[in-house]
């Protein structure tokens, strides 16, 4: 049941129990394992628009974090007879293992159209629809709090240990594994810090660059983190930020973010790089966005979404800092913008943004 009272029926799967969540949809046709393990989906019930999910089973190599992150998984059809050479299990078993409730048989297209018109809504997944008033209370009582803290690593760790390339400090707001990998595979030694780490702690290690990760929830709620990012910004260390990190950076310099009607979640979002007049396809997953208005003078919106013109990337002139709303680390999705990691490392090496 959604918060407007509309009810959709289906069959129970996974570790089914009553769950309240924010309902969002993703239009990717492949990559449900990556989506399920993307920490940015914490607290959300993910509707997959592709109707047959689970066709190729699951592969733990493709996990983007240690565990499954969404609160619920909502699909049209769940395949229990998967096939792929790397498939180790069915998605049903995986959902059970990680305690995620799932519903199949859902008219996902109808739900998407509803969300498209009404905007993202909260909803409850339940096996008993008899007491609608109670369910509605549950929905309205639902609040997303401390999401970043819940998905961040709890203690610093190092990836790519012994690598002789750039030393990168990565703030983990719920990072996808492939952000870490993308840096480590480029020869970086990446120290991953919990979200609440102070700027001083990070800067005292003299990193060549700072990476701000993706993560779940409302950026404006992360008051403490924004404060630390402001320090990093002022310090001027080469910084690259993705998704939530991008939003937090904007907030740190006085910009504003707002909740989008139904967000961008999928693997087919065109992003135009204005300097180069080039458009790349990107993977996206965000429900909030940076407003173009209200950014400081030195902030230039250098990437926009071709579909709706929203801000996709900001260059901070005078600082070796650039941030993007989309996911150059892909997984799931196109790898077209992976070159941004190279750009970041070049910036980290030279100490300045090079267009």
């Amino acid at each position: 049941m959604l918060e407007d009272g509309s009810v959709y029926e289906g069959q129970a799967h996974g570790d089914f129990r009553e769950t309240v969540c924010e309902v969002v949809f993703n239009t990717s046709m492949t990559g449900y394992v990556e989506i399920l393990t993307d920490p940015s989906y914490a607290g959300q019930g993910v509707v997959m628009t592709y109707p047959m999910i689970g066709n190729y089973g699951i592969s733990r190599e493709d996990f983007e974090s240690e565990r499954l992150q969404p609160s619920a998984f909502l699909v049209h059809e769940l395949c229990d007879t998967p096939s792929n050479f790397r498939c180790t299990d069915t998605i049903e078993n995986l959902l059970k293992e990680f305690g995620i409730p799932c519903m199949s048989g859902l008219d996902t297209r109808a739900v998407v159209k509803k969300l498209r018109e009404s905007g993202t809504m909260r909803g409850v997944l339940t096996g008993d629809i008899s007491d609608k008033d109670r369910l509605m209370q549950e929905i309205y009582a639902y609040k997303q709090e401390g999401l970043v803290e819940s998905v961040s690593c709890k203690a610093p760790y190092v990836a790519g240990k012994g690598n002789t390339g750039a030393k990168i400090a990565l703030y983990d707001f719920g990072t996808k594994r492939n952000i870490v990998e993308s840096l480590a595979s480029r020869g970086c030694e990446v120290t991953v810090y919990p979200a609440w780490t102070s700027a001083e702690t990070v800067l005292s290690t003299h990193p060549d660059g700072v990476m701000l990760s993706n993560g779940p929830g409302d950026p404006a709620a992360c008051v403490n983190i924004i404060r630390e990012i402001r320090k990093i910004y002022n310090y001027g260390v080469p910084t690259f930020a993705i998704c939530l990190g991008h939003q937090l950076t904007a907030l740190a310099v006085g910009g504003e973010t707002e909740r989008m009607k139904y967000g961008h979640r999928g693997a087919n979002h065109p992003v135009k790089f204005l300097h180069e007049d080039r458009t790349y396809l990107s993977s996206q997953n965000h429900g909030y966005m940076v407003k173009a208005e209200g950014l400081p003078q030195n902030a230039e919106v250098h990437c926009v979404n071709v579909n709706d013109g929203t801000v996709e990337g900001i260059l901070y002139h005078g600082k070796p800092i650039f941030t993007v709303q989309f996911h150059p680390e892909a997984n799931a999705g196109p790898r077209d913008t992976a070159f941004l990691f190279d750009k970041f490392l070049k910036m980290a090496a030279e100490g300045r943004y090079d267009d």
Binding site: S59, D107, R109, T279, V306, N307, P334
Partner: protein, 1072 residues
């Protein structure tokens, strides 16, 4: 930004429909031409195929229906002076011609530049070695291979890499001449054939990777370098079966995101390196158990796959490609489906698409049905559903092959070992054999081991099989019924299995509220609101169709997949009817399932239902839409067959009513009408058994024409000369038509006269005949396979008057409203009727074009109640246009191994070309050239005819006594010629005779024409059959009709080879 220097663009079409190059290029070309015109570009179009929509005067500014040859194209370029040539829309034919024009310097001399792709890129993609080098350079793996120009090198290389190997000739379409060789002997044979068919005598020998997954990506790139993939597709049939013959699914189902993105990135790398500005198709082989992959092939142009991808996603590839060629960026071209977003995105599907090939084996009973690297399908269907199971079953239903379920007794009755053996052999029935094997309990792993079909697909087929098993236990509760419908089972199959009537299942569904609903194909998985009304049905989902009636709602039933006898002409008719309806202020709804066609383009109709054209699916649409009327005249037999369904639903059939359609088809009723009209027909009888057929034949006297009633394209029609023939033909007919009591067989006296054909537009009172067409070939050869001439050249004034008069009488007696087609035989100045079809025929597009009469538009208006006399074209026979237009059939025999090329009453051609000129012989010559038959003035001609034709051939050749033709004849024929005083003929032995025989001459490769008339019979054991097959396979033209042979010799003899006029069809049409 649009490149302002581009003002006039030439577009080359793909020519006649042949296997490997079907209607998809009409769809692509039409869409692209409209896209160019939208941007204010003047478009010059050349295509020899008159049945296309792209050759309409309102699609391009200048339209040339001329032979697609270098001399003709050069002349058109010199005359029209285009600044650019867009070569990527005419399939392999268009691309090859563009390359030749470039290589010969024609483009440079005339200041024409290639847009969309340059010559270097074409070479990089098409030339085997350059392609390999290019792939190596960018690190994209290819299959171990070597380009060779002779057989010995192929043998040597294959010994090194090991058999099996695949042979792929360069610059051929649909994989013509390719094949898999398991040993040296096979290699020698296939390789020699491939070398000959290749334009540059070049083949690629490559390691066989049969059994790998075959995955395709459709990619777009603009001049800024922006790239996207429109969609990817996975072939159910692994590598080894040509993708045109494979069941294809979109998007891929068994690829994880890593696999998907790996191949996507590779496809983008490739299009970037090739520098294509437009669309491109990349085929990959993916190892089933690793990330290892190989690039199989790149098509740097729109293709069959791109048409499929366009329809599967809603993304108009040809339209966008045309705009890119003009210089626009993907991010500047609006997405016409959403109206909000841009072309620089990748469609997200929230459904599954299945493409199923349509094969012509019902026409070629002697043909080998095995599938390999040589494409054999003539067309295809596409189906959309939320589940693979439903999409597969809907596709199967769309084929109209009477296959309603995957399970058939023919295979179910087989034992497991027998099924195993059948599975080893890949043919057109594989999917049914797989289903039977699953039904009979064969382990899926076992089936996978043999077929290499991915387990995922086998599991899904098992779901379908299991459901049918469950239903056959009588189980039919609500959940089961709902699930069965969701899996794509039709009511009749459910009823048959459960053991109740179809009506009972329908009632249960109504009671339980199990109804289909329709969803939108919107390119974006509902993320944005879509503007396009493009629908498919499914169960248990929300209905998205707005059925509000604001104006008259008319439903047009399309013609389904392209097949022999029902080709692109009917799509031409459907589309023109839709346009006429829209113009008349009606809401036009089309139902069709062919992804290659213009009619299924998203912006042609007001509503497009992509559904099977069978009773249940059409009923669903009717119940939802409640149309004010339906048109069945334009969709060939496919639409006609639905008349009863529509009638039962109470839908008004616009035009001739069903009762009169039946009167034209029912033997007895039609005889009554003819008697009433005082019109003669060849005598005949209706029979139900072989005995009756023999009795009828004896009563009428041989030869007789034997055919099943209710046929399409003369299916099963034969001329019988004796009792043996009758026995043989009746055997074949009863095998293909199980119940003769419903569809009896007709036995008619065969009259060897002049065949004449008219199409007429009728309004119930008046008729308008655009023109009378006569056949070059005498009666007995199917009208679709005959050379047809407009206007009639041999008919007397009196006969023509009679024909017009008869047409009027029949139109009136049959109450025809709309189109009708009548075939006559003229013998000794007497006119006989062969048949009347109160519907559109395959000659309508061509006669419309050469006369300038928009026949379908007028017929549609007549159906809506307008009177012909008010339409401005007069009534009766329309005056001659002053041009001769000659329609020549084109065949695809080289693709169908084992098919007899001899022509008879059963249609065999796949397409047609037109020759137009003010001079009859020049029109003939153009038609032959367009059809790929060229006869040099000193060409070598082999003559070998049956005894009864010997006097005639002697008479015929005398006319060419003084020509430079070099005649050869087999002993019997030569003897006759010499005796008749024709001395100029050298001897050659029959194929079975001693060397030097015909085979040696054909091997030498310099035979221009073979004239061979067949003895009767369909069995491939005769010398003539072998000769004709070898001729086809060696690329020599072989004519089995003396009339056709005379025509080509006459035209080649008379017309000076350097003189050729050009006719702009568009001006012909505007003139009216």
């Amino acid at each position: 930004m649009i490149d302002k220097s581009i003002k006039k663009v030439m577009v080359i079409g793909s020519g006649p429909i042949i296997i490997g190059q079907a209607a998809e290029f009409d769809y692509a070309g039409t869409q692209a031409c409209r896209s160019l015109k939208e941007e204010g570009i003047e478009v010059v179009l050349v295509n020899s195929n008159p049945a296309t929509i792209m050759t309409d005067g309102d699609i391009a500014d200048k339209v040339y229906i001329e032979p697609l040859t270098i001399p003709t194209l050069t002349k058109i370029i010199e005359k029209e002076k285009p600044d650019s040539l867009l070569p990527t829309l005419g399939g392999q034919t268009g691309l090859n011609l563009a390359m030749e024009l470039e290589e010969k310097g024609v483009l440079k001399e005339n200041g024409v530049r290639l847009i969309g792709i340059n010559a270097t890129a074409i070479k990089k993609a098409e030339d085997r070695q350059e392609f390999k080098d290019t792939m190596e350079k960018i690190g994209e793996p290819c299959i171990e291979s070597l380009v060779v120009h002779d057989v010995e090198s192929a043998v040597e290389f294959s010994a090194k890499i090991g058999y099996p190997v695949i042979v792929r000739p360069a610059y051929t379409l649909g994989g013509t001449g390719g094949g898999i060789a398991d040993n040296e002997e096979e290699l020698r044979e296939i390789c020699a054939n491939g070398l000959r068919l290749s334009r540059v005598t070049e083949v690629l020998i490559e390691k066989c990777i049969a059994g790998w997954k075959e995955i395709e990506y459709e990619v777009m790139r603009d001049s800024k370098g922006n790239c996207i993939t429109v969609c990817n597709m996975e072939n159910l049939d692994p590598v080894g079966v040509h993708t045109g013959d494979s069941i294809v699914v979109a998007p891929s189902q068994t690829l994880m995101d890593k696999d998907y993105q790996m191949l996507r990135s590779a496809a983008l790398n490739i299009i970037t390196e090739l520098g294509i500005e437009g669309g491109c198709n990349v085929q990959f082989a993916l190892h089933p158990d690793s990330f290892q992959y190989a690039v199989i092939e790149v098509n740097p142009r729109v293709s069959r796959s791109s048409a499929l991808a366009s329809k599967a996603t809603g993304y108009p590839i040809a339209r966008v490609a045309a705009k890119i060629a003009l210089g626009l960026g993907l991010d500047e071209i609006p997405n016409a489906v959403t109206g909000k977003t841009f072309a620089s995105f990748e469609p997200a599907l929230d459904y599954c698409v299945v493409k199923f090939p349509k094969w012509p084996f019902d026409k070629f009973v002697t043909a080998k049905r095995t599938l390999g690297t040589q494409m054999k399908a003539t067309g295809e269907v596409m189906a959309i559903a939320r589940s693979f199971e439903a999409a597969l079953q809907k596709a199967m239903h769309s084929l109209e092959e009477n296959r309603k379920s995957l399970l058939y007794p023919e295979w179910l009755e087989k034992s497991l070992p027998e099924l195993e053996e059948l599975l080893e052999n890949i043919d057109n029935t594989r999917i049914y054999v797989v289903a039977a094997a699953i039904y009979n309990g064969m382990a899926l792993e076992k089936i996978h081991d043999i077929t290499k079909i991915d387990i995922w697909f086998l599991q899904k087929i098992k779901v379908i099989v299991d459901m049918e098993k469950l239903l056959s236990t009588g189980c039919c509760d609500r959940d089961t019924l709902l699930e069965a419908k969701r899996l794509g089972f039709t009511d009749d199959v459910i009823a048959k299995n459960v053991g109740v009537t179809e009506a009972a299942i329908k009632n249960l569904r109504k009671m339980w509220n199990i109804r289909p609903s329709f969803s939108v194909v919107d390119t974006c998985a509902a993320e944005f609101a879509a503007q396009t009304p493009y629908y498919y049905s499914d169960y248990c989902v929300e209905n998205e169709v707005d059925t509000t009636k604001t104006r008259k709602k008319i439903m047009v039933l399309g013609s389904g997949p392209i097949r022999i006898g029902q080709g692109i002409e009917f799509d031409y008719c459907s589309v023109h009817s839709i346009w006429a309806l829209k113009k008349a202020g009606c809401e036009a709804i089309i139902v069709n399932n062919n992804p290659e066609t213009v009619s299924t383009d998203f912006d042609v109709s007001d509503k497009l239902y992509f559904e099977p054209l069978t009773p249940e699916y059409v009923t669903n649409i009717v119940e939802l839409e409640q149309p004010d009327g339906a048109i069945v005249q334009f969709g060939g037999q496919t639409a006609i067959k639905l008349t009863k369904t529509l009638n039962d639903l109470g839908v008004t059939i616009l035009g001739t009513d069903a009762d009169h359609v039946d009167a034209a088809e029912d033997r007895e009723r039609f005889d009554e009408i003819l008697e009433y009209c005082d019109i003669a027909r060849p005598k005949g009888q209706t029979v139900f058994t072989t005995e009756e057929a023999l009795a009828a034949a004896h009563a009428l006297g041989y030869p007789v024409l034997v055919r099943p009633s209710y046929v399409l394209g003369g299916q099963g029609m034969q001329i019988a000369a004796n009792d043996d023939d009758i026995n043989e033909f009746m055997g074949i007919i009863t095998r293909t038509i199980p119940d003769l009591s419903e569809h009896p067989v007709l036995v008619d006296k065969y009259l060897m006269g002049q065949e004449v054909e008219v199409d007429a537009i009728c309004d119930g009172r008046d008729i308008l005949i655009p023109g009378i067409m006569e056949h070059v070939d005498r009666a007995g050869i199917h009208s679709g396979d005959s050379i047809s001439v407009y206007p009639a050249v041999t008919l007397s004034e009196r006969v023509q008057k009679t024909i017009v008069d008869y047409t009027k009488r029949l139109a009136s007696a049959l109450h025809v409203i709309g189109m009708m087609n009548i075939q006559f035989i003229v013998l000794h100045e007497e006119v006989y009727i062969i048949e009347v079809n109160p519907r559109s025929s395959r000659t309508v597009p061509y006669i419309s074009k050469v006369t300038g009469i928009p026949a379908i538009s007028l017929a549609t208006r007549a159906m809506l109640g307008e009177k012909i006399q008010d339409m401005g074209y007069g009534t009766g026979l329309y005056p001659n246009s002053g041009y001769y237009a000659i329609k020549l059939p084109v065949f695809s025999f080289e693709k169908i191994i084992g098919a007899d090329t001899a022509l008879g009453p059963e249609m065999k051609s796949t397409g047609e070309v037109l020759g137009i000129s003010q001079d009859y012989n020049e029109a003939l010559l153009k038609a032959f050239e367009g059809g790929g038959i060229s006869l040099p003035k000193d060409g070598k001609i082999i003559v070998t005819v049956r005894d009864k034709d010997k006097p005639e051939i002697c008479e015929m050749l005398k006319a060419f006594k003084d020509s430079d033709f070099r005649f050869y004849a087999t002993p019997g024929t030569r003897k006759a010629l010499l005796e008749a005083g024709f001395q100029n003929v050298k001897p050659v032995n029959k194929i079975s005779g001693d060397s030097p025989n015909i085979l040696d001459m054909l091997s030498a490769g310099d035979v221009s024409l073979i004239i061979n008339t067949p003895t009767h019979g369909r069995l491939p054991d005769r010398d003539g059959f072998k000769l004709r097959r070898i001729a086809v396979e060696s690329g020599a033209s072989c004519l089995t009709s003396l009339d056709a042979a005379r025509a080509i010799m006459q035209s080649a003899y008379i017309v000076p080879s350097d003189k050729m006029s050009l006719t702009d069809i568009a001006t012909l049409q505007i003139k009216k």
